[in-house]
Symmetry: C2
Subunit: 349 residues, 2 copies
């Protein structure tokens, strides 16, 4: 029997995920979005599938969630736990497993202990699972842990993820400080909610450390502009960012564990130069120092495609999982699904 899904959030990600789910044999039974431009339209039309799915995009989430039975809700709305909490709660109370693209909801045990414990308890009560997946799943967490399997001793783990801001919308590009002077950048860090509280990279690092069974003693963060040393054309803004101005930012987290292993992770979102564009959208790089030294680069990939493919490949794992708020380190090895997704369901679920 096919997997049935609700798509909660029909933006750029929700659309690509819908297309991939259909191609992997998932039955989409409902779609929710509040964007008036698409409410009332068929999801197949909005997703550019060339055919109707007989799934009308509706704005009343309560109605859709109570009206349809489905195995899982795919939630791609906001990134932060504050705004996602009520959405998760509603999905879980209607007995849906929940899989979200929200990197800011990936591992909130230290950032939002009460909300996280409540979601964990609620999910267990309803015998469903809540998981956030996305680029971090393979490239910042599970592949890194797996590479440490070749380590006898580790003194430090250092990673970075670099991505091209140009593909984002103007609001996000400006949130990363692109086009600001150095002084404007540091002033805005003090007041800009996004700059101060985006949790994607912090939570990825916390999940990685938890996956290794280590305990964080201290964690620090800093945010700096990346100043361009040449003019760069920014498609997303439709302008050139002049040499000497910020073309994005670098967010650095450093953690030291009780076991004296040092972790450092840099998230680098910049408008790419021509030279950088040649190596693709996203580059991840990890150094592990110890015995032996290890080094990994994963690059030349499209961030949105890799994100949506990972989320869709995770669907069977989330449905199969024990109930609760389950981070990706605790799920089985993420892998390509050659067959329709319901082939990967365990019996008894």
């Amino acid at each position: 029997m096919k997997i049935r899904a609700i798509v909660y959030g029909v933006g750029k990600m929700g659309i690509l995920i819908s297309k991939y789910m259909i191609e992997k044999g998932v039955d989409i039974v409902g779609a929710i979005d509040i964007n008036p431009a698409i409410v009332g339209k068929d999801l197949g039309e909005v997703a550019g599938l060339g055919r109707d799915l007989n799934v009308i995009i509706r704005k009343d989430a309560d109605e859709v969630l109570s009206e349809y039975k489905a195995d899982i809700a795919i939630v791609a709305v906001y990134t932060d736990m504050e705004r996602m909490y009520p959405i998760f709660e509603k999905c879980i109370e209607n007995n849906f497993n929940v899989l979200t693209t929200a990197g800011g909801c990936a591992y909130n045990w230290s950032t939002h202990p009460e909300l996280t414990a409540k979601l964990d308890k609620l999910a267990k009560k309803h015998n469903v699972t809540l998981t956030a997946s996305g680029l971090q799943d393979s490239f910042l967490i599970n592949m890194v842990t797996l590479m440490t399997g070749a380590s006898h001793t580790i003194t430090s783990v250092e990673g970075k993820q670099k991505f091209n801001l140009s593909r984002f919308g103007p609001v996000a590009i400006r949130q990363y400080g692109a086009g600001k002077t150095k002084e404007e950048f540091y002033e805005s860090v003090a007041v800009d909610h996004h700059l101060k509280s985006a949790l994607y990279s912090r939570l990825a690092l916390e999940t990685l450390i938890a996956d290794l069974g280590l305990t964080i003693r201290e964690m620090g963060e800093r945010i700096d502009p990346v100043i361009g040393d040449e003019n760069v054309l920014c498609e997303g803004l439709g302008t050139t960012i002049k040499k000497g101005l910020a073309r994005g930012m670098i967010r650095t987290h450093e953690a030291i564990t009780e076991q004296e292993i040092r972790f450092r992770f840099e998230e680098i979102g910049v408008v790419y130069t021509m030279a950088e564009e040649a190596s693709g959208d996203v580059t991840n790089e990890w150094f592990i120092d110890g015995e032996p030294q290890l080094h990994m680069v994963t690059d030349r990939m499209s961030g949105p495609i890799a994100t949506c493919a990972q989320v869709v490949n995770r669907i069977p794992d989330v449905i199969n999982s024990e109930p609760g708020y389950v981070s990706v380190d605790r799920l089985p090895k993420l892998k390509f699904r050659a067959f329709p997704l319901h082939f990967y369901l365990q019996r008894g679920r």
Copy 2:
């Protein structure tokens, strides 16, 4: 309670594994080797630990295996199933879990179906597990599968592992054809057992394909010399290999699956040039073509250290595993062990 181990084979690998096991809190209770230069000596002395372990290296395997109780035997003797089979059989019959470095014994369902089925049955009967780990575990199998988790569609998977032959002994270096003319190389391929039947890379590729749930329709192999275009100094041979002669070989496996996904893997063992030495001993590189394209490089690592670290980190997984002949794709995510290895044992074993 500490894990107890027998070391079966006290060569270069067995020595490094012994050192790592001691450092990770494993109790080595017995050691077996037939090399007269070390038989009768203490393992701690031979491993250069600076202290005795009160473990005398003995040559009679039957005596040692029946005399001592242990959780696991670490077997590093030969690489091929023909010669390893009786050793595995003996360890299993004495109720030891077995973990081996033998890359040629990693996944022999198609190359040695009868021996493999017998070992699987015997291991199940004795409620123990037989697994081969090593460099292929992370770098050719599990990290690759995990990266495919970011694939929506795959048309081909292409990998290569390149390593420096110089660190091997003269016999192995010559087996890879180093120093031969092109004509001598192709003549020796026809008669040299090693060139014809080394299974390391074939079995790694078969495990990867099995891990993805795919079925091989056709598999082909070819072996070619890598001809040097400069003189290279070979430490292991103590001579220079002249420009125009083989400085090693490239073994290529190509497979096509029933699902029309093409796999290609190249094992490249060459005496490194100065330029190649700068990027470390072993480099692994993988391209996945499809939606999206994916690319991974893992490099700058010492092959022997990474191999032995992986084998030691796998000890708890092998002890915890269901019984049988279990390849590494079926074990949990390999990871660094920050704590003594018995901390990772599941209760009830």
